[in-house]
Amino acid sequence: MTKGDRPEHTAPPEIFYNEDEARKYTTNSRMIAIQAQLTERALELLALPDNGKTKLLLDLGCGSGLSGAALTDQGHAWVGMDISEAMLDVALDREVEGDLCVGDLGQGLPFRTGTFDGAISISAVQWLCNADFKGADPRKRMRRFFDTLYSSLNRGARAVLQIYPENAVQAQSLTTAAMRAGFSGGLVVDFPHSTRAKKYFLVLMVGGMTAVPEPKGLSGEASDEEGAHVSVAGRTHGRKKQRTGGHSMISSRHPEAKGKAWIFKKKEQARRKGYASIPVDTKYTGRKRKAYF
């Protein structure tokens, strides 16, 4: 691989991280230093409550266990997952403290609901953006990954994923995929003005700062709750009116199609599926062009 090539473009991860590549992670001091640095920063962003208790963390794409070693140093228990067996062999040689398993992030995480106090991932998640085998759908794989990650974290936990996005679109698509799974949070970019030192961290929170809404009717005081309900109903009523207002645009052949509302609906569908380049909705959307001749 020449300098500057992206490893994602050369081969899928389980093939790229072979014995040769894995050995670098034990011998190359620069690589080790960078990994340790990134893990330290990820832990800082993870902002675990400092109550002296041992936390159970998840290390996604743990590889040779360099990041896991940093977790052990901080006194946490961890479980690591990686797709490359060669890398895991290196981790076994290093006798890391955490448990390891072979798994593909894009197939979802094989963990029970609400088990981990936090998750970190160093330079792994961008691999999800590539279609490495026939029939691979990166959007589906991302969705499965974030959905299962969300469910395996404990309420109030965070996940910090350090990524090397290829471009802004890729970073955006990862962030939206995460938000769609229910995470709050966003992208933290360290040293944004330097090309070389720039580092992206996707900081995701389960629940985050917003408290979990209480179930209704627990204490019997339903009066103001009901008031809020009425106003919401009013809002949807207004929207309905608007939709019927755009009636003039609806063609006779496809009464359901080609209206402004239909265009908005289709664009929203595409956005939900994760397509990146959907034009923004403006007052000009769906208007007829002037009849130039």
Binding site: G52, K53, T54, L56, A77, V79, M81, I83, E85, L88, D89, L92, D99, L100, C101, V102, G103, D104, Q107, G108, L109, P110, F111, R112, G114, T115, F116, G135, R144, T148, S152, N154
Partner: protein
């Protein structure tokens, strides 16, 4: 693989509803000393599925876990905590397999690392 990890793992084959807990099919079991930390045990206990841990510990050769655990046992019962610690962190499944309780699919464990990669038709 420690039983702590076993307790967290659940089968993720598409469509599987009752993929928990994995049955353990041991071939080689090792014991490894781990630092005894009762605070961690108390912290992690609420998140464990106790029946699953108890069953797995029996398979792995630690039959001394009680059926019911009370708060006072977690706080003061040194003997219980030692057994708990031993089962959770010191028994290592080195070689063998994890078997999905619903589909019977076997995930091999080699050198203490379970291979949880799915086949294409299981995703």
């Amino acid at each position: 693989m420690k039983l702590l990890t076993h307790n967290m793992l659940s089968c993720h084959i598409k469509g599987v509803k009752n993929g928990y807990p994995f049955k353990i099919d041991p071939v080689k079991i090792e014991e490894m000393d781990a630092d005894y930390d009762p605070d961690f045990l108390r912290h992690i206990y609420p998140r464990l599925e106790w029946p699953a841990l108890r069953e797995a510990a029996q398979v792995m050769g630690e039959p001394n876990l009680p059926e019911e655990v009370t708060e006072s046992m977690l706080q003061n019962d040194e003997e219980f905590l030692r057994h708990f610690h031993h089962a959770l962190l010191e028994l290592i499944l080195e070689e063998g397999a994890l078997v999905c309780p619903e589909t019977g699919r076997r995930f091999p464990v080699h050198k203490g690392v379970p291979n949880l990669l799915l086949h294409e038709d299981e995703v």
